[in-house]
Symmetry: C2
Subunit: 187 residues, 2 copies
């Protein structure tokens, strides 16, 4: 893997559990493991159905799309349970996808939460279709367009400052700092 | 200067020339020249008078205030001509201040622009009170709480990816990516 390979880490901002409406989503583009190269942003409906569409639009409309190779997501859903369709994201952007999870998800708890939401069977089916969860380099991953070896290489290249890939750590800090700044909460 | 010294680069997002209201301002906290450590944000009134108050609140309410040493501003004003009072910012935050400018400002053009705005004499006085402009390490700076030698050290430590201090480059990319993302424009 080239040292300067570009990846984008995508995370959502914090939101109140009883909130409605849109949730901020940011994507931090990195060249290699320490070079911050740009920021993309969009919004997704909390517990809605538009996460895949919004990510595809955000990525394909960006000047970074031609240089990017990898998308790193913090879990399979944004804005609560607005589930990302990994196959569509992979096919419609041409990018390789890694869903990063710090621990093995408790699928029973996930199913219980999903059952409280609209069209829960479709949502649960999307979550299951994300497929096999691999332990890779100390975290857990779901993958599209790459195998475990490539995932391990990507993690080695990008995990430079913490136990998370740098693009994901940056996206998390940026989304959090923005939402808190606008709500006046201490960052 | 310690390698891990923390600085915050502050920049505003893009806005239409004929727009009114608030402009997004973000601050990117860095440890040294490559370690992104966190994000703060606020809003200032376009061509208004609240930039100093907003920056003081943003910085003093943040968990980073105790670790921060330096503030790097991209010019003396945010959101058009919402001028920052460098003395107040320095005294009320306890931080050392560097205003970074890529070229020597054309003061005649600045004065002409300011004369079209409310209370232009007070505004112009604030701009003049920012004081002497030093050429330091290829850019131009106004300083509070530090001398030219310390400014040069700060620039050497933080200018790692371009001809701009990294905290300022990151703040610029983040503010731009957010405003464009929310307006649907290509980033």
């Amino acid at each position: 893997m080239k040292e300067g390979v570009r990846s984008i880490g995508i995370d959502d901002g914090p939101f109140a559990r009883d909130s409605k409406g849109d949730v901020l989503v940011v994507g931090a583009v990195f060249k290699g493991g320490t070079w911050f190269d740009g920021l993309l942003s969009t919004k997704v409906r909390k517990d809605g159905w538009n996460a895949t569409d919004r990510l595809v639009s955000m990525l394909c409309a960006s000047k970074f799309i031609r240089q990017l190779h990898y998308v790193i997501l913090d879990g399979i859903a944004l804005g609560g349970f607005n589930v990302v369709d990994l196959d569509r994201l992979n096919k419609e952007t041409g990018l390789k996808i890694m869903v990063s999870m710090r621990k093995m998800p408790d699928m029973r708890a996930v199913k219980k939460a999903v059952m409280n939401l609209s069209r829960w069977k479709s949502r649960w089916k999307m979550i299951l279709s994300a497929g096999r969860i691999y332990p890779v380099g100390g975290i857990f991953c779901q993958l599209r367009g790459m195998d475990e070896n490539e995932a391990l290489e990507l993690l080695k290249l990008t995990t430079t400052r913490s136990n998370l890939p740098e693009p994901l750590r940056a996206a998390h800090l940026i989304a959090g700092g923005l939402v808190r700044g606008q709500s006046g909460k201490r960052a």
